[in-house]
Symmetry: C2
Subunit: 165 residues, 2 copies
């Protein structure tokens, strides 16, 4: 699989600097509202994810944090990332052993990740129907869902077209 380009999300071009900026502000608001502390490492970790605009491994984030003067041991990255995930500011993409900034912090949503196996691009899609269906299926078995992971592997529009040629 090729290295993911940081140039698109949901498979559409857009202004990164802008969306990263507004998302960071939303994240700060969420943290304030929840009464949790978006400390320097945590904020920087989120910024890194937002800047890169792609799924990043914990060690990759760690390298960036270390370069910025923070600790260079794994727990530094894992703790910051865990905090972000716990508070809905980032997501964990299990299939990639990676993390990505949440594009809708604060909004209640069931993140669905669409991962292109060709270009590596990861898109976060909103999909309430998926969540509803999952809750329904679980409910029929008496299972009480707390968190859900929904990830699809396949081809993004661009790579699908290219593959068809």
């Amino acid at each position: 699989m090729a290295s993911p380009t940081p140039s698109a999300n949901a498979f559409t071009q857009h202004d990164h600097a802008h969306c990263a900026d507004t998302t960071l502000h939303k994240a700060e608001a969420v943290a304030a509202e929840k009464g949790v502390r978006l400390t320097p490492v945590r904020k920087r970790a989120l910024e890194i994810l937002l800047e890169e605009h792609r799924a990043m491994g914990a060690y990759e984030v760690l390298d960036r944090l270390a370069a910025d003067g923070f600790g260079n041991q794994p727990p530094v990255a894992y703790r910051a990332l865990e905090f972000l995930v716990e508070n809905g500011l980032a997501h964990r993409v299990r299939r990639l052993n990676a993390f990505a900034a949440c594009m809708r912090p604060g909004e209640e949503h069931a993140p669905v990740f669409l991962i292109c196996r060709d270009c590596g691009e990861v898109a976060e899609a909103g999909a309430d129907e998926v969540r509803q269906a999952l809750l329904g299926a679980a409910d029929r078995l008496g299972f009480h869902v707390e968190r859900a992971t929904v990830e699809a592997l396949g081809l993004c529009p661009k790579c699908y077209q290219e593959a068809a040629q």
Copy 2:
């Protein structure tokens, strides 16, 4: 999280020996039909998963394989497990870094895993609506889904009741 009991699936009691046996036969039929080889290691790996009837780590499966006279290096287990997953005879449970035998080999299905965070039990639920919803959401973005991972973490009926007390 407590160690998962091998005594239930889909949170209901049933006859293991029987279901393991019939599932193994179905798996053999699937392999024959597909023209792929269910070699000794692969078959044994599947048997192990069926016998234990729970999600098992690759190294745990490896230990069992080694005890049965197969190689004792990681690739032995990973290759066998990969084969099983590729051919729909087992599933990978990403949240647990584990593998579980498929209970419906041959049937086209979207496996949904319900993982109890208390007792560790893992149930494979059929949930076509989930798959449909996911395909629909992906389609709206022009994404072409090939494989999907759907996993829910929460409480099984038993642990939910116990927690409520």
